[in-house]
């Protein structure tokens, strides 16, 4: 195995063409599970949201959740899919303790929605990603592996299982293979998942939080030399953030290219992405071709979504995120390039929320795209997860507008919020921040600055008002940035000129 990357990414895409495919899983936000009335609250005490149906106890029978079926059809419609007029659930048989029944109810050759697409914007171009299928299944329980290193299943002596999640409705969305994206493949993957997240969120059927696992993503990657048939693909799992989606595709492209260059073969396998190292490792040491012995689920009757039902769901679809974004761009008065920067930073929703909380679009954009974007970048996290909420940013901007903070101090306050020091008001009190516009306190500083810079003072007396900047700078320095620049300027001019021009 080649573990040292010999080719860099530019060399990889010069020699090979990638084909990617994405499988996203969306845990629906229904109140109850897919086939029983158990609640679905996140973070409940282990094994307190279970019943005979989701435990697969003898004699229990599943009944499908109507809200979950409707949510899946709505996702399918939003993805331009054809909705099946008749389909069945299928039983997927496997032995693994994350499902107490020894099978998972899923869909196999009759998915609820098929053959759609999702358009995404990549560097100013529209890329159409084909959707193969959207189907509905039940989520599995959570296992906790004991006795091995850092919770891994390898080397574990036993495992503990919490079935609270077992049976929560899970929608699987599978793309068609996406060829022809070249060096943009990692970015295409990330933007696709981002767009999918925004789309599902707009439908209000899931909170689609990657860090809580309600949006999960597996990435398929293969490489081929130009003109040759597609290569063998690997499936990378454990990709738990938008940033990781991009990193995982990149890492897998580099790994595969180096193997191919060394004359080695790519094995079709599951690989795991590691957030810390950015590498992928082989997921299964020995695995025969999986044989899940699918058959139509005998405990559930078929689904037959009639036209009236589907039409009604279609009529109530919200505005697609793309249209919504175009409207925002107009409302915010942004050029295409500026809007693209906002999109690339993943800042649309936070800016929208900040504006909703009372900030001006310019103010909201300034903080999210400046200070906070830089912080998110340094920390390697998504902007929405930096730990500052839109309401706080709006509050900071309000303080600036009211003259209580200037931009420099506002940045200090934001840093305080990022450090977990509390609300803007608390940080201003604790750190003694705040713009000094009290003329009494400033007059002394102004007099000192004039005394310290007699040549500048003379220029201003001669009517060269632009020279005042030097004095303002000195005063700002002396007051550690807390002076109100406008007040300072007025004081200087009042001191040095008998008739200061009112326009300055």
């Amino acid at each position: 195995m080649s573990t040292v990357a010999l080719l860099n990414f530019d060399e990889v895409v010069a020699r090979y063409e990638p084909v990617i495919g994405l499988e996203t899983h969306v845990e629906l936000g229904t109140r109850t599970k897919m086939f029983c009335g158990c609640p679905t609250d996140f973070g409940a005490e282990p094994n307190t949201q279970i019943c005979p149906v989701c435990l697969g106890l003898p004699g229990s029978l599943p009944v499908a959740n109507k809200a979950a079926i409707e949510a899946t059809i709505r996702i399918g419609l939003a993805l331009n899919c054809r909705i099946a007029t008749w389909c069945r659930f299928a039983r997927k048989n496997y032995f693994y303790p994350d499902m107490p029944k020894n099978f998972q109810i899923s869909q196999y050759d009759e998915p609820l929605c098929v053959d759609g697409w999702l358009d995404i914007e990549v560097e100013g171009e529209t890329v159409r990603v084909g959707i193969e299928r959207v189907h509905l299944e039940e989520d599995t329980g959570k296992t906790l592996h004991i006795g091995g290193a850092t919770g891994r299943i390898h080397g574990a002596t036993e495992s503990l299982v919490d079935y609270n999640r077992a049976g929560i409705p899970l929608v699987e969305i599978v793309t068609k293979p996406v060829p022809g994206t070249g060096a943009l493949a990692p970015i295409v993957a990330r933007i696709y998942v981002t767009e999918m997240r925004d789309l599902v969120r707009s439908l209000d059927v899931s909170d689609v939080r990657m860090e809580q696992g309600s949006l999960r993503c597996d990435v398929n990657t293969s490489l081929n030399r130009p003109g040759e048939p597609w290569g063998t693909r690997t499936e990378t799992k454990n990709v738990n953030s938008l940033r990781s989606v991009e990193r995982a595709v990149r890492a897998e492209m580099i790994r595969q290219a180096n193997m191919l260059d060394a004359g080695e073969r790519i094995i079709q396998e599951t690989r795991h992405f590691h957030e810390d190292s950015g590498d992928t490792t082989s997921g299964r040491s020995k695995e025969e071709a999986t044989d899940y012995r699918y058959f139509p689920e005998p405990d559930l009757v078929p689904l037959e979504p009639d036209t009236a039902w589907v039409d009604q769901l279609r009529a109530n679809l919200p505005e697609p995120p793309r249209v919504h974004r175009r409207r925002l761009q107009e409302a915010w008065g942004l050029a295409d390039k500026e809007m693209q920067a906002v999109l690339n930073a993943g800042a649309v929703q936070v800016i929208e929320a900040t504006v909703a909380a009372g900030a001006t679009p310019e103010g909201a954009r300034k903080w999210w795209m400046g200070e906070l974007a830089r912080f998110a970048n340094e920390q390697g996290i998504d902007l929405a997860d930096v730990g500052v909420i839109p309401e706080q940013v709006a509050e900071v901007q309000r303080l600036v507008d009211d003259g209580k903070l200037n931009d420099k101090l506002a940045r200090v306050v934001l840093e305080g919020i990022l450090d977990g020091e509390g609300s803007p008001a608390e940080i201003m009190t604790a750190r003694g921040l705040g713009v000094v516009s009290d003329t009494g306190a400033l007059t002394k500083a102004v007099d000192e600055a004039i005394a310290g810079n007699p040549d500048i003072a003379a220029k201003i007396r001669d009517g060269k008002f632009e020279a005042a900047g030097v004095l303002i700078g000195a005063i700002m320095k002396a007051t550690r940035g807390q002076a109100d620049a406008k007040t300072v300027r007025e004081l200087i001019l009042a001191r040095l000129s008998s008739s200061p021009p009112s326009s300055i």
């Binding site: 229904t30 109140r31 109850t32 029983c36 009335g37 158990c38 609640p39 005490e45 282990p46 094994n47 307190t48 949201q49 279970i50 019943c51 005979p52 989701c54 435990l55 106890l57 009944v63 499908a64 959740n65 109507k66 809200a67 979950a68 079926i69 008749w86 069945r88 048989n93 032995f95 693994y96 303790p97 107490p100 296992t143 906790l144 592996h145 299943i153 390898h154 574990a156 002596t157 036993e158 495992s159 503990l160 299982v161 919490d162 079935y163 040491s285 020995k286 044989d291 012995r293 058959f295 139509p296 005998p298 559930l300 009757v301 078929p302 689904l303 037959e304 979504p305």
Partner: protein
């Protein structure tokens, strides 16, 4: 020609986690073959316009509203478990059953 081979029966037994002896494989392969041969005869009668039956009742769209229904208390649910665990680290262990406990999942060599 046999409808199911001895190898296929062995494969199915492995997938189903059933320990089957060599003699049992011989016997079951023969018995299953008789059953499948009989089913094959039905297939000869069924024309292309007759879809396979997966459900014996002519019902569709049996759905429930998204309303929470009471489930099991944790103690009740875990009462039937072969083994349970507290799941806290040793210092904080209360001895209370909170998880289902299962033996090692992967083989030693895995």
């Amino acid at each position: 020609m046999a409808a199911i081979s001895r190898e296929e029966v062995a494969h199915l037994a492995r997938l189903s986690r059933l320990a089957v002896t060599e003699e049992e494989l011989d016997r079951f392969a023969g018995q299953l073959d008789v059953i499948l041969q009989a089913v094959t005869r039905v297939g000869e009668v069924a024309a292309a316009d007759i879809p396979p039956t997966s459900h014996s009742v002519p019902l569709t769209n049996i759905l429930r509203e998204d309303v929470v229904a009471p489930g099991l208390e944790r103690d009740e649910a875990l009462a039937g478990a072969p083994d349970t665990a507290d799941g806290h680290v040793r210092e904080r262990a209360t001895g209370q059953a909170r998880y289902f406990r299962v033996p090692r999942i992967l083989d030693e060599e895995a």
